[in-house]
Amino acid sequence: MLRSNGRLTIVLLFVLLGALCSACNVVRITLNTPLTPDDVAFIVPGQTTLLEVVDRLGSPDSLNNSETGIVSVHRFLDMKYARVNFGWLARPWSPVDPDLIFSRTGFGTDAFQVFYDSNGIVVQHSFLRHVVDRPFHPYPF
């Protein structure tokens, strides 16, 4: 009987833990492949061509005029969202469904721009925002 009670307690604890934490959400959205400085280290201004860049990084999302010639832009996004609803803690004892939600979103939008001369040779390149890879973090304060 004692063993059975122990198991029942474990099951109940597990169900309670599940009920308490069921309001946790972790969402990640990625647009294209996020680029890092290592991914673009092969680009040498004055040597690398547009076709070599496309070959390694894929086609850009846009091509535009620049004073030197052409500018290509590779856009990417790595959005992280975490949410915890502490209101669930009171739901077993409350006549209403209370909510106490902590959530935080990091959009992580960035772009990699490459400037070329009129012959398609790289003149310079840079990231737009230098987004740092942040962890999931629901605490908003």
Partner: protein
């Protein structure tokens, strides 16, 4: 005690594998790879490009040349709806095709890559 183990296993399974979801969204038509490969630099004309690929999504003026841009986006969403916690991962990639035409209307260059080819349903939001 057999019933207890069965109930326990079913309870744990229900808790851990509450549900999962697959969703997909696309924007634009698939870019025809055969049509792109048939474009020859210095030979293919603007009219032939329009016939094989259709009207472009955008026309960009680039240093006196016209650039036709064709794009398509593909998004796949995988959600693991556990009772303890919900995980979702949205992966979106785009295919972009740029056809550069010179002032005579002849194809000068083609820039293309198919990034959506390796797009998979993913559920785990952590890591790469």
């Amino acid at each position: 005690m057999q019933w207890f183990h069965t109930v326990l296993a079913l309870t744990l399974t229900a808790i851990l594998f509450h549900g999962c979801a697959f969703s997909r969204g696309t924007l634009g038509d698939d870019i025809n790879a055969e049509a792109v490969n048939s474009i020859k630099k210095g030979v293919t004309t603007k009219a032939e490009v329009l016939t094989s690929l259709g009207a472009p999504d955008r026309v960009l003026p680039l240093n006196g040349r016209d650039v036709y841009q064709y794009y398509r986006y593909d998004g796949k969403v995988g959600s693991l709806l556990l009772i303890i916690v919900n995980f979702s991962r949205v992966s979106i990639k785009g295919d972009d095709l740029f056809v550069m035409l010179n002032q005579s209307g002849i194809v000068e260059d083609v820039i293309w890559s198919k990034r959506t080819e390796n797009l998979e349903f993913r559920f785990w939001p952590f890591g790469d």
